[in-house]
């Protein structure tokens, strides 16, 4: 019941918001009064320093400050552990706090679906999505596989002959993005051999021929492709990406496999965040997403723009979750 009210409030405010110009920085939403942060905003990165979540949080906080889009200070704190679960539990305990948020990406869905966190995306207040990243499947430069269909045909004939490696645990991102595309190509998803290397040895294992395929983010492959060490058979984006090297990577869809996977990255508040605050942050994130300064950040890290407001984001997440849950179920990892 509470959820329906929440959703309808969201819809209304999104409509109200859609009516306003994006240059209107004073916009704080039409419903339930206005909100302005009155103290330092705490931005939680549910991981240690130096990773993707940490970098995103720090860059967003920095650009918010430098451009003055949000005047109030933003500090990034790291709550590392359990693949994010510790950070999520921490934010979950701040119910209704309008000065707290965290950065998230698909593990917020994978980890609870694997039974490793009590909290999933539906337990938090989606504020906005900012970035899209995509997965890439790479093989050694001298590999016999020339495209995804070569690889998947081989896997259909003899699934034991191909090993896939990734950095995340089975049932999480690197594994499931591969399973998702391979299944669409007709490979039996229960027979995919996946090994996880969380100590930084995944790329090494591909380069020395111990394993065949590296399932990772596109950003991780660029330097190695430029150096002629590996080739990317396919990426999970819907359309060709832009940029040097990136534009050379064929999508799975181009190769006749009608499936994609987006590694979204956005921000969530604690449960029960006030609607006025949600509207405020949503507008601020949109302004940030459209700013030149943040465009530079995206370019620096090779991220793609993918802004979604709170409600659109929520719908997107619901759809993704359903699909992933079914896939996990199928390969026997669902809880």
């Amino acid at each position: 019941m509470k959820k329906t009210i929440f959703a309808s409030v969201l819809t209304m405010s999104a409509l109200a918001f859609a009516g306003c110009g994006s240059d209107d920085t004073a916009n704080t939403g039409g419903e339930g009064g206005s909100f302005e942060p009155s103290k330092t905003i705490e931005m939680v990165a549910p991981a240690g320093s130096g990773g993707g979540w940490d970098t995103t949080a720090r860059e967003v906080a920095r650009v918010f400050g430098e451009t003055g889009i949000i005047d109030e200070n933003m500090t990034v704190i790291n709550r590392e552990g359990g693949g994010g679960a510790i950070g999520w539990a921490y934010v979950h305990g701040k119910e209704g706090d309008a000065h707290s948020m965290f950065v998230a990406s698909p593990p917020l869905m994978f980890v609870p679906l694997n039974g490793q966190s009590e909290h999933g995306h539906e337990d938090f207040t989606p504020l906005a999505n900012m970035i899209a990243d995509y997965g890439a499947f790479a093989v050694r430069e001298d590999s016999e596989f020339e495209d995804l269909n070569d690889l998947f045909d081989q896997m259909k004939d003899d699934p034991e002959s191909v090993t896939v490696i990734g950095t995340s645990a089975p049932g999480s991102m690197d594994h499931m993005q591969f399973v998702r595309i391979a299944k669409a190509a007709g490979v039996d998803p229960t027979k995919i051999k996946y090994v996880s290397d969380q100590e930084g040895g995944a790329l090494t294992a591909v380069l020395n021929g111990s394993v065949d395929v590296f399932s990772t983010g596109v950003g991780e492959t660029i330097e190695q492709v430029r150096a002629g060490n590996i080739k990317v058979l396919g990426v999970t984006a819907e359309e060709r990406m832009e940029g040097e090297v990136l534009s050379e990577f064929p999508t799975a869809i181009e190769q006749g496999i009608d499936e994609s996977f987006v590694n979204w990255r956005g921000f969530f508040g604690p449960p029960g965040m006030d609607q006025a605050a949600v509207d405020y942050y949503e507008a601020k994130f949109q302004e940030l997403s459209e700013s030149e300064e943040f465009a530079e950040v995206r370019e620096k890290y090779g991220w793609n723009e993918m802004y979604m407001g709170s409600e659109e984001y929520n719908e997107f997440l619901e759809g993704e979750k359903e699909e992933i849950a079914a896939l996990l179920e199928e390969i026997g990892l669902g809880q």
Binding site: I86, G201, T204
Partner: protein, 500 residues
Amino acid sequence: MDAFQGLMTGFQVALSLEGIMFVLIGVVVGTLIGMMPGLGPISAIAIMIPITYGMDPAPALVMMAGVYYGAVFGGSTSSILLNAPGISGTVATAFDGYPMAQQGKAGKALAIAAISSFVGGTVSVVMLMLLAPALSSVAISFGPPAYFALMFMGLTAISSLSEGSTIKAMIAAVAGFMVVTIGIDPQTGTQRFTFGNVNLFDGFDFLIIALGLFAVAEVCMLILNRKNRSLSDDQKLGSLKLSKADLKEMSGPVSRQSFVGFLLGVLPGAGATIASFISYIFEKRIAKNPEEFGKGSVKGLAAPESSNNAATSGAFVPLLSLGIPGSGTTAVMLGAFLVLGVQPGPLLMTDRPEIFWGIIASMYLGNVFLLILNLPLIPYLAKILSIPRPLLISLVIMFSLIGVYSISFNVFDLYMLLVFGALGFAMRIFSFPAPPFILAFILGGMMEQAFRQSMTISNGSLSIFVDSPLPLSLLLVALVSLLVPAFLKWRSNRLAYKQR
């Protein structure tokens, strides 16, 4: 651009006024943070990242590199003086460094550590300079079967890390294996021994175990033996000067282990910790008087110290030339590179030679600075030992708590520190050695993962370990190092029997 020309570019960066200044800032900050028990290069680098915002990448990265090897350089101090390792790479330093300090030779121990670190650091920079491009192929030559064999080889050393009862050493090692399985299993995502507690999902950080088993347990022993005044009377600085005999004794281990450390540092995942242990064991195995190890042996101190510093430079090979971070610390380093808009990888050398060679060239300078900086500080550092016992104990506990808290800002970890402290204390009282526990904890996790990765790749066939020459030869070395001491013992027993 060839290497020589590149290096000249590098020295232009490192020897500019700006370069010298930032190397100096880096190593000073690094060595100071590294000296604190529990705080190591990860904390040091993470603290420095925001400072580099907006800086020119070359000097900024020269500084960050300085912070990194500076912290490893300084890390030995708390191991030697307080038995409280600041970083995992200096746990083995405490094995002989702390006993030496207890014998009233703290100054000498610190001097040996500083000189060994300097030589290890410098030798490895020379190798880094000459071989970085070539070595990137070594870094990728190890697949899962070879890693398994390497870890297995390391484990055969458990018996040589023990004093007295081999059975007790084995029990301690098995306990270490058991503890490392706690957490989410990376190969299946299954929770093991977590009792559903989210704090245990990632298992235990190495530092919690090291500080618990060493620092906290040591503090308990100090409290237990508080009436025993003789110890504190002995704890004087002692002479700083190293005798010719000392230098001669050091020269062997330092020159050998600088190479060993560097090579192990190059392998992603091995790093300074494993390098320091393997070097320690290596020297103990070949020593004429291995019984001195663990009781303040010069060799036992020099070996891990030269090795861990050499491994630190070695870790730059996969980072700079492949863009592969081989450890938690280099992963944070990689983050520092990306923040500055520099992508380490195979093209760094040609795209940004001033950065690639600048970092390497600055390391020569950095190591000299570290030596000049650390040697005169030794008398002051060693004075820590003359702090009244109750105050010192409180300080060690406080720093251990800070160090553990700074890993992930989780109070649960503090309780675990106390649990492992209690375990370490109990092990001391019942004379179970702690080093086999630590070694099994370090090697066991990686060994299990490598084994299971190999099994998946080979569809369950064990032949994957003997099919290619690298794992096979490592396993043979392991076998020899297990059998030879046993054989020698058997023969000497037989001879003794015959003579009778």
